[in-house]
């Protein structure tokens, strides 16, 4: 029976990063994966969708390039097959990259479904038959999958999950996206840009419910401008597959209407992959279909840890990676191991316009008893945004009025996903408003909007 010091189950962005860190620290490390290295993120999530959204962005720009003096004679059209092929190519490249990284760090890759047998023993089935291994430390990084909506069982044909949605053979005429979280609005935005008639249904009272209210309101208006039919506070029920699509009943606070579209994407949250792991042989606790862990990712079973999506929200690749590193460093007893600060995890949504945020929303900050100073700066006042021809949106910074602590940042507009990292760095370094005010942000860049919003929070804005 093969013996390891660290065995990681699942090779997504949490698992493979944890495995590499473990190998770096000198642990005899193996990683088990039943599907593709890189997990959903690399193969069926972040990366291929960002590639597709880049295609949509180029298409959008091509249609409006005349204003910039770029004249395209003839028609600009979108080739969905080519776009999908390109996104698959990028995903494939990264997948091979992960294999190379694991090999380089001496992590042994095992293929199959892992099942815990208790006392550090793990059975791995599939690939090359069944094998038994044992490990001192087992890190579960099995990820998550789309939550199923009653009745809306994905059939790969009419009712899609994200996976089918990112590999369409052709563009549908109409599409309904159920769930207006990050995944839902990204697909809605992508298909709307390509001319598909898109309906977006959200059960909560607003879209992107995790984001700051002002951001959600602005995004709602912008998506509507793009022709997306957005409904909030509604439930889609009783789906019925027809010859031309799916018919459903939409319940809007007691008022029902019938709705029909060619395709349906179910993006109503995700659930942890906790099944078939042999957790019943351990003291690992599962609640709300996620593994219960402490801040160092330890489960109820000594020597068993869980990181990333399977250990609960936020369901973000970078959160999984950081948890993986912290968990391994804790196992190694490193003095400077650092548990993830949940208030310093940025999140990015690549719809058009982009949304990025970190930390507390204004409402949450107030709820936690902070006296807040809030500053906003619109990209209309930013030279670089005007030059880009994309000056809608704004930057909102939430700071503690008393201590100047950076509590949260909420951005919507051009390339804001690249700006949020600056805030995350500021939060980690425990900045106050003064350090941001004193920082020289280069001109002309979008980052000046960040600077101005902090100035505005203390009534010192120059360009507004």
């Amino acid at each position: 029976m093969a013996q390891f010091q660290v065995l990681v189950v699942g090779a997504g962005p949490g698992g493979y990063v944890a495995a590499i860190r473990a190998a770096q620290l000198g642990f005899a490390t193996a990683i088990v994966e039943r599907a593709e290295l890189g997990g959903v993120c690399l193969n069926w999530g972040c990366i291929p969708t960002k590639t597709l959204l880049r295609s949509a962005e180029l298409f959008r720009q091509a249609q409006s390039s005349g204003a910039f003096g770029v004249v395209m004679d003839g028609t600009v059209r979108f080739d969905i097959r080519a776009a999908v092929a390109h996104s698959r190519e990028v995903a494939g490249r990264l997948n091979r990259g992960v294999r190379g990284l694991l090999k380089k760090h001496g992590v042994q890759v095992l293929t199959g479904q892992a099942s815990l047998q208790g006392e550090g023993r793990v059975r791995i089935e599939g690939g090359d038959g069944t094998q038994q291994v044992s490990a001192d430390h087992i890190v579960l990084a099995t990820g998550a999958r789309p939550r199923e909506l009653p009745g809306f069982t994905p059939d790969g044909e009419r009712i899609w999950t994200a996976r089918e949605a990112m590999t369409p053979q052709a563009l549908p005429a109409s599409l309904t996206v159920i769930g207006a979280g990050a995944i839902g609005v990204e697909f809605a935005s992508f298909y709307a840009a390509l001319g598909v008639e898109v309906t977006l249904l959200e059960a909560a009272e607003r879209i992107v419910p995790q984001e700051d209210e002002e951001i959600a309101a602005h995004l709602h208006a912008r998506l509507a401008e793009q022709g997306i039919d957005v409904h909030v506070g509604v439930r889609a029920e009783a789906p019925e597959v027809t010859a031309s699509g799916v018919r459903m009943s939409v319940d809007a606070a007691g008022v029902r209407f019938d709705h029909h579209s060619e395709k349906v994407i179910v993006a109503a949250g995700i659930v942890g992959n906790v099944e078939d792991l042999g957790l019943e042989n351990t003291a690992v606790q599962v609640e709300k279909r996620h593994i219960v862990v402490d801040r160092w990712s330890a489960t109820g079973e000594p020597g068993v840890y869980a990181i990333g999506d399977v250990a609960g929200p936020p369901w973000l690749a970078h959160k999984a990676s950081h948890e993986g590193v912290a968990c391994i460093e804790r196992i190694a007893g490193l003095a400077d191991a650092h548990a993830l600060d949940p208030d310093a995890v940025p999140s990015c949504t690549y719809c058009h316009p982009q949304v990025a945020s970190m930390g507390l929303t204004e409402a949450l900050a107030r709820e936690r008893g902070h006296a807040v100073s809030v500053g906003r700066f619109s990209f209309v006042g930013n030279g670089k945004a005007l030059a880009l021809g994309d000056s809608q949106g704004f930057v909102k910074t939430v700071m503690d009025a008393h201590s100047g602590e950076l509590l949260g940042a909420h951005l919507i507009g051009p390339d804001v996903t690249e700006l949020i990292g600056t805030y995350a760095l500021g939060r980690t370094l425990e900045t106050t408003e003064l350090e941001i005010m004193r920082t020289v942000f280069p001109h002309p860049t979008l980052s000046e909007a960040l600077h101005e919003s902090v100035l505005a929070a203390f009534d010192r804005g120059i360009h507004a």
């Binding site: 400077d336 008893g369 902070h370 006296a371 008393h402 201590s403 100047g404 602590e405 370094l429 425990e430 900045t431 106050t432 003064l434 350090e435």
Partner: protein, 426 residues
């Protein structure tokens, strides 16, 4: 001309103090008479005031340092407009000692100790100053700096838990939770914002000391309690007769029941000396003198001034001393000699009508007597129900020092002395 700030001797007999915190930080302007730093001795908190207006040029002993001998130069004040070069003679960081400082400086240590000697006796901060860089630079996050400044916490005294020992917010918050809150108002704002219906009263030095000592006592001393009733009819009659004489005496006196209790307790302690003792890990220390502490409630909290050799004093003298000490305690004028030491404590809540209560042992003493009110209660005399003046006494004792039978013997002796005051004469 730079002015040296020395640890003042605020009370007679004071040899050393804890430098609790600096109210001003380096580079801050101060007016003459403004508070520069706070000191704490066993039972009192004192302030170090600026002798002249100027700028606090350098802090030589950081906040949160125990056992700073009187006369130690703790910082340097610069006159307004004075160049920083005036500080050239002073180290940029507090001197580090090779060993922990001795518990106290020798008596009568010269106030102006030469600087070269000072390094040997320099106090050591409680926590390592990991965050201090080679040039004395303190690595701290901006947020940590701001929170520390607002709360008057010296960063130099903190251990940083951040990368490479950097002081981060958490370190300041921990220091705040374990140290006194700043008396200055700013710290209250954040608290008030979240809890408008709660008034936040910052801990005084005395409150902190009370909290620490009593928590330690209740947690570490194995208490047990004995209660006894004393019939005081004869004692009250005697008291009446004595007080009638006292009005015409020179000096005049007026004896309280508590004076009799103290007087009797002093004699009972002589008869049962095992109670007049304290615990140490090595041995039980039994006191040769009978020094009795009397608990006095003041606006700042409980203090326990001590009556020395109480067993050798007449009732009127004892009464006068207790009264004088209580006055001084309420006015905050107790000198350390007034409250240091003592082998036994008496706490009386009878004047509030409290019938009986159990007090917490006052460490390192082994026992404390809780005195209740004198009240008329039914008593059985010769199988007949009668009315008598009774008082209930409760002894709380440290079982490591005082066994149950010893405590009971002490109470029995005390009861005899109080019930039959003639016994007090022999």
């Amino acid at each position: 001309m730079a002015i040296e700030i020395k640890l003042p001797s605020v009370a007679a007999g004071m040899e050393e103090a804890t430098l609790v915190r600096w109210v001003k930080s380096e580079g801050e302007s101060v007016a003459k008479g403004e508070t520069l730093a706070e000191l704490e001795t066993d039972k009192a908190v004192m302030e170090v005031e600026a002798e002249a207006s100027g700028v606090l040029g350098r802090v030589l002993v950081p906040g949160d340092t125990d056992g700073v001998p009187v006369g130690t130069v703790i910082g340097v004040l610069m006159e307004p407009g004075e160049e920083a070069s005036a500080l050239a003679n002073y180290p940029a960081e507090p001197p580090a000692a090779a060993e922990p400082s001795p518990a106290g400086a020798p008596d009568g240590a010269p106030a102006d100790t030469p600087r070269s000697d000072r390094a040997d006796t320099a106090p050591v901060p409680r926590s390592p100053r990991a965050a201090e860089g080679a040039e004395g630079r303190v690595f701290a996050s901006p947020l940590a700096r701001r929170l520390a400044a607002e709360r008057g916490i010296a960063l130099e005294g903190l251990a940083g838990s951040g990368p490479h020992g950097r002081i981060v917010r958490l370190d300041v918050e921990r220091a705040r939770d374990s140290a006194p809150a700043a008396v200055a108002a700013p710290a209250e704002e954040t608290v008030a914002a979240s809890s408008e219906r709660v008034e936040t009263i910052p801990h005084s030095g005395m409150r902190k000391t009370i909290a620490r000592r009593l928590s330690e006592s209740k947690q570490q001393v194995p208490h047990f309690y004995l209660t006894i009733d004393c019939l005081l009819d004869e004692l009250l009659a005697l008291r009446e007769r004595l007080n009638a004489k006292g009005e015409r005496a020179e000096p005049r006196y007026r004896l309280s029941v508590n004076d009799f209790v103290a007087f009797a307790a002093a004699r009972a302690l002589r008869r049962v000396p095992e109670v007049n003792a304290s615990w140490s890990d090595e041995a039980i220390r039994q006191y040769r003198d009978v020094d009795i502490c009397v608990a006095v409630a003041t606006s700042g909290g409980l203090v326990t001034p001590v009556v020395r050799e109480a067993d050798r004093k007449g009732l009127a003298t004892l009464s006068g001393e207790i009264r004088e000490l209580a006055h001084r305690a309420r006015d905050g004028r107790l000198a350390p000699a007034d409250y240091q030491g003592g082998g036994f404590t008496i706490s009386n809540l009878g004047m509030y009508g409290v019938r009986e209560f159990a007090a917490i042992v006052n460490p390192p003493q082994a026992a404390i007597l809780a005195v209740g009110a004198v009240e008329k209660r039914p008593v059985v005399r010769d199988d007949q129900l009668a009315v008598g003046s009774l008082m209930t006494l409760t002894l709380s004792a440290d079982h490591r020092v005082v066994d149950g039978a010893v405590g009971a013997r002490f109470l029995a002796e005390l009861k005899v002395l109080l019930e039959d005051p003639l016994e007090l004469l022999v």
